[in-house]
Amino acid sequence: MRFPPEITRSLLPKLEQIQASLDVLAPEGLLVALFLLLLLLGLFRSNSILKMLPGFTVSGLSGIIIFQFFMIENSPGYFGKMLVADGLANYGFLLFSAAGILTVLLSELYPPLKVRSGRSEYYAFIVLLVLGLSFMAKATNLLFLFLAIETVSIASYFLTLRLREEKPAAEATLKYLLFGAVAAGIMLYGMSFLYGFTQSLQFTELSFWQKLSLVPKPILTMALALTLGGFLFKLAAFPFQFWAPDVYQGAPTPVVAFFSTAPKAAILIVLIRFVSVLDNETLAPHFQNLFLILAALSFLTMLAGNFTALWQTNVKRLLAYSSVAHAGLLLAVVLLPAETRNATILFYVTILLFSNCGLFLIIQIAEEMTGSNAVAALSGLGRIFPFLGVATTILVISLTGLPPTAGFTAKLLLFTGLWENYAVTKQIWYLVLLLAGLVFTAVALFYYIKLPFFLFFRKTEVAPARKFGLAPKLLVTLLLLPVVYFFFRADALLSFIQGFTNGN
């Protein structure tokens, strides 16, 4: 069969383009392969295969990381310019895969997840989630972005409902889903207007924003705000943070560890692409409202997250709000100019990954020991297991942002950026956010300090049911190391990150 020439003319170059893109798409392709393979393996009923699954996933993901690390170079735009593989995206890919690996490891140490049915799907969905995140980070096209976000969402719903027989999980999933779907709908509605204004879906292109700048301000602002809605949902930022505590409480702890880090990193990368218009001096004045919205939301997110966290008695809910608070800080970073923003945000998110995974690991260990997620259930555990107590303390310090942990360095970078920009631009919001960040750091201490407080100062009422095994100890140490090491050698991580971001 022969194609008509006009089709050939338009199609063939595209096909060639796609073919050329396949090299760049290889990691994603491998992820798809892994995903399918896992589903396939799930069809086998053999126990030995079931046991192999986590190891298989981990090694698969690690292999892909290595592949990505050595093989893939930055690519400005491919796949019909729908995707871009810049430093942000590539580093993001490492981060997502690492989060995936950690989640699998955490799951291995979490007995409730070791139910027989649906194991392969569980791992497959983790891989799928990583895939979706990676597309999110790479998307430069609204359609592609929407699809990636939905992929992530659907995979997330499944992971949340991993423990099907548990009421909280089911409730959380339903709420997550319905809330997420509405957020997606709102975002979509906003996107439709953006498309209407520009007749284009390529949101990273300059022409897209030039056209937008001609639109009357109120309408434009509304459309942008609606679009942001979906992003804020993924980031769990104000005013779309409500799902977070419920889902964190209901979902299996390893999954929560994943949720609290990787999707945020991905959506932050998307946001960065969105606000990079502010770097453009001629266009920036037209989008001042975008800046203001984000600044206000950053402040409100910090406010909502920190203050609500004060009142929590459930560790997972507490950390949910804490992650909301971190989202607020991260939103503030998004507002910085490109050169400081990218590195800072990646640094912050990386440290957050280690700290959060570490802390959730400890929480799941404590959960097993005491059968509860209440903060009070931690009472006295730090005395019985000093290592656990010390590790929690270090992680909590890192999350608060105090030395000698990398959390401090991350905050230092953030605050430095804000200060520097305030000095340069005299934009008062930078100062407000800086002061808010500092004040809320103090507020944050109020609730973070609860954990070491209960661990050490309160006495245990019931003896813990389980010992603190070697494997979790090792894993905790593994997670602690970067948190401490990257304080003393912040340059190592930062230059690693800059190796990615400066390659643009």
Binding site: E339, T340, A343, R383, P386, T393, I397, L402, P403, P404, F408, L412, L413, F415, T416, W419, E420, Y422, A423, L431, L434, L435, L438, V439, T441, A442, L445, F446, I449, P452, F453, F456, F457, F488, R489, A490, D491, A492, L494, S495, Q498, N502
Partner: protein, 568 residues
């Protein structure tokens, strides 16, 4: 010894790590290890002390190494150094830390510790971080140690403290954390504004020397990505190292909320350190922390930790912002006097002996502030002397309270009468400590307070900064000091021996044990020695104090009008 100072910090850390490895049943070994580490620190600090040459104004025993640096694209290079050194201001603090460190271990010896391993490891951690604070010349490093002090303290109070320990620990932690956030914000402001000229020259590929680089910087001829931002405190004190147009550049017309940025930055920094000192009205963490902390920790807290706040003013706040310090001198002196009187009146009303002493610390630390704000050689030397002397005296005060508490598990003044007849040796040390604290001549507190008051008084004629009334009011603090101490002495120690029935243990109270003598006698001797031979300390300290005053006054007074002129 090339790495004397590093050793001072890392030796206790190392031993702390070893202790963690020792099984907790070898309590004796753990204690001995701790004692050995503290003693080694003392020896090292003595070595530093004796080989310190006061006539040389520069920092000595300097250790400087690049720690890490981050390239923040066009903003420049962010340099953090491992930078230690001592000068006349810090040498006294180093020695004090060494001395009190050993005393603290001794007084921990019989402490009923639930978990001795953790206790002693944390103790050494505390010792190391305090030492680090006094030795660090890089603000990042300083801040690291400054924050790091909080944690061991938090646990030491919270786990091994008294009945309301949890409240006290959290209060302490939050209070000082807020203080350190203040410091953090100024630290960020400073390092974004300050460069290291030598490193910048190297980075920009210039062969220019320091002055030339500074000239290039001030004339705006250096590309911003080549600038090496630094945390080095000595670099921060040089106005020529500030990037033109940066927030904290001397001649920048920057305002924050309508105030000159530098003045505001100084105030914020001051507030941060003031919490640690503590200065009224941000002092309320101190009585609680003291009352709940176990004796050795109270000793460390009062004798060394409080000094860190004042030291921060000496080392950072004042030299970096001389004009602001001069501008606010009356305000600072006013706070000092307020602390002196306020603390004294509070002490007068206390019914718990330990709380009384805690408030007396507030009062005595007020003298440091007053001396510092006087900008006279007498006042500043006196302030440092007060830091040192109060370190010894408050250590002794808390030790004697601890002795009492060990015997009766109570510290209420109303619970005892006529202890002098039952515990004569103990009373002797109480009297020495009390009289040292209230400034009896011949004991170290006198010299310190004398010099501070003298400085505050002469400030009016020497540099015209402070009104004489500050000294006059502060002098009444001495009277009040005598009042609360002697009143307590009269109520608790004089009269016929009597103890509240519910406190009676049934046995005859035991006077001091050998271990207690071993802690108290050296302190008493030191207090006496430094009271009679002040030159022991002043020879090392006062050249630096004079240099401090000279630079502060010359820079402060020339810079202040210029800075104020720039404002609309």
């Amino acid at each position: 010894m090339d790495h004397l100072l590093s050793l001072l910090i890392f030796l206790p850390l190392l031993v702390a790590a070893i202790i963690l490895a020792v099984p907790s049943r070898f309590i004796k070994a753990i204690k001995l290890l701790t004692l050995g580490a503290a003693a080694a620190v003392l020896v090292l600090s003595l070595m530093t002390w004796f080989s310190f040459n006061p006539s040389q104004p520069a920092y000595q025993f300097v250790e400087k190494a690049d720690w890490f640096g981050l390239q923040l694209s066009s903003f420049g290079y962010f340099q953090v150094q491992y930078f230690l050194g001592v000068d006349g201001l810090s040498i006294a603090m180093v020695l004090l830390t060494g001395i009190v460190g050993v005393i603290g271990v001794l007084s921990s010896w019989n402490l009923q510790t639930k978990n001795p391993k953790g206790y002693f490891a944390l103790y050494l951690l505390l010792l190391a971080s305090v030492m680090g604070c006094f030795l660090a010349l890089d603000m990042f490093l300083f801040y690291l140690f400054f924050e790091f002090m909080l944690l061991p303290m938090y646990f030491l109070i919270g786990i091994w403290g008294g009945p309301r320990r949890e409240y006290a620990a959290i209060k302490f932690f939050l209070y000082t954390l807020v203080g350190s956030l203040f410091i953090l914000i100024v630290m960020i402001g400073l390092y974004t504004s300050v460069i290291d000229p030598i490193a910048t020259a190297a980075r920009a590929g210039l062969s220019a020397n320091q002055n030339a680089t500074q000239f290039l910087l001030q004339t705006g001829k250096l590309a911003s990505e080549n600038l090496v931002h630094t945390f080095s405190i000595p670099a921060m004190t040089e106005a020529a190292n500030y990037i033109p147009g940066s927030m904290l550049h001397l001649l920048s017309d920057r305002e924050i909320f309508g105030y000159p940025a530098r003045l505001l930055a100084f105030l914020v920094l001051f507030a941060g350190f003031a919490i640690k000192i503590p200065v009224v009205p941000v002092h309320t963490w101190l009585p609680d922390a003291h009352v709940e902390a176990p004796t050795p920790i109270s000793v460390m807290l009062a004798a060394v930790l409080l000094k860190v706040g004042a030291y921060g003013l000496f080392r950072i706040a004042f030299p970096v912002f001389p004009e602001a310090a001069v501008y606010f001198s009356s305000f600072i002196a006013g706070l000092g006097v307020l602390s002196i009187l306020y603390g004294a009146f509070c002490a007068l009303a206390m019914s718990d002996l330990k709380k009384l002493i805690a408030y007396s610390s507030v009062s005595h630390m007020g003298f440091v502030l007053l001396g510092l704000a006087s900008f006279t050689t007498e006042g500043v030397s006196g302030a440092i002397y007060q830091l040192f002397s109060h370190g010894l005296i408050s250590a002794m005060l808390f030790l004697v309270v601890g002795v009492l508490y060990d015997r009766y598990h109570n510290r209420q003044i109303s619970g005892f009468r006529g202890l002098a007849s039952a515990l004569p040796a103990f009373t002797f040390f109480v009297v020495v400590a009390f009289f040292a604290s209230l400034g009896l001549p011949g004991l170290s507190g006198f010299i310190a307070e004398l010099l501070v008051l003298l400085g505050a008084f002469t400030s009016a004629s020497a540099n015209g900064l402070l009104s004489r009334w500050f000294a006059v009011l502060a002098a009444f603090g001495i009277l009040l000091g005598a009042a609360y101490y002697l009143w307590a002495l009269q109520r608790m120690f004089f009269g016929k021996f009597w103890i509240k029935p519910e406190l009676q243990t049934g046995t005859t109270p035991q006077d001091l044990t050998a271990r207690e003598y071993f802690m108290l006698v050296p302190l008493a001797i030191l207090i006496l020695a430094f009271g009679i031979f002040p030159h022991l300390l002043l020879d090392k300290v006062s050249p630096a104090a004079a240099g401090f005053v000279n630079t502060m006054l010359s820079e402060g007074k020339t810079n202040l009008p210029e800075m104020l002129n720039l404002l609309p």
